[in-house]
Amino acid sequence: MVPRLEMLRTGVVWHRWLRPRTARVRAENLGCREVASGVPPLGSKSLGVLNIFDRGLKRKQKNWAAQQPEPTRFDYLREEVRPRDSGEWRGPLGLQAQVGSQIADRVYDIARDFPLALDVGCGRGYLAQYLNKETVGKFFQTDIAENALKNSLETEIPTVSVLADEEFLPFQENTFDLVVSSLSLHWVNDLPRALEQIHYVLKPDGVFVGAMFGGDTLYELRCSLQLAETEREGGFSPHISPFTAVSDLGHLLGRAGFNTLTVDTDEIQVNYPGMFELMEDLQGMGESNCSWNRKALLHRDTMLAAAAVYREMYRNLDGSVPATYQIYHMIGWKYHDSQARPAERGSATVSFGELGKLNLMLQGKKSQ
């Protein structure tokens, strides 16, 4: 302890303290150890396949997050909050539970029951606790993190836990009536392929209801880090992972073969006491950065500067800082003959030119 105090007193030594001791990787470890600055190992993946995220690291992060003790002080925040209301600072469970309940609402809106359902990237099972036995007969939960499946939350539906990657679902074609996915597709490397896999395992007339983080998520954090890093270090590197745009999502779903698409966006703003609490919350959710091109180190100076910038640029009246989570909700159906289709060409009985006389036409029909 004593040497550290010495370093604190002299400001000159501040920067030396920042450099971590293990920054240099020993030569003999280069082959077997994962290099922190994130270069994908040689010989992995064929050329042309997207490899943005280190899935092995994401698995470790989710495993770590899943075995954190549940913060019981945030239990009351698990109740559903109306969207667009800014919520209080909530622990790692609040946001995922809220989105889970929104997805469950959409599932209830579909006037059907689903004997067999699949949850892709389930985490600790936030969705399952909001669904009931009448709607979903049997529930398969998949995730890449085994700890998440082991520590899954209570639910009344019979569940089977499967350890699987979102891009490599180990199920046969035409298996599931319902596939749901809550806030896990934004870490998938090959999103078109993941959506195609989901389409593959769905039965005809099956439905996919999903939610993922979208373009504007955490823009305050991204801007603050960018500005602070530019001012402190002269340049910046991305610390927030890249998100899909809403228009691209529609195209991707169509390309995967889904019919009757619905994509809508929802913005949830959560208030935190400060930037450090936000970063800790993200880590607790298992949402730490795992891109290959991430910088290994975030200097304490830069963090301090970013926290000051975040506070100054975005704070609320009561002193807390907001964090925006933009969530894309999507619904897609697998084709079945019974589904409504666009009408045949040439089957129109009324022309658009008569639209202005619509009221007269209706009145005429009523009087007849």
Binding site: L8, L227, E231, F276, L304, A307, V309, R311, E312
Partner: protein
Amino acid sequence: MSANGAVWRRVRSRFRAFPERLAACEAEAGAYGRCVQASTAPGGRLSKDLCAREFEALRSCFVAAAKKSLKGGS
């Protein structure tokens, strides 16, 4: 890997003290934030060490708050 996570917990506890130390330096943090924000206005250009003076003030206040809390704690 680590035996019982002691190092990680120690580092984390130090990191968890950051918010209250930052809260003790609200004026300096505000000054630095305003300087950086001013550079984002049209016509401004953000370059390295543009707000170095404000940041030095913030850092020394932060270090002083750290010293004070360490002395008070130990």
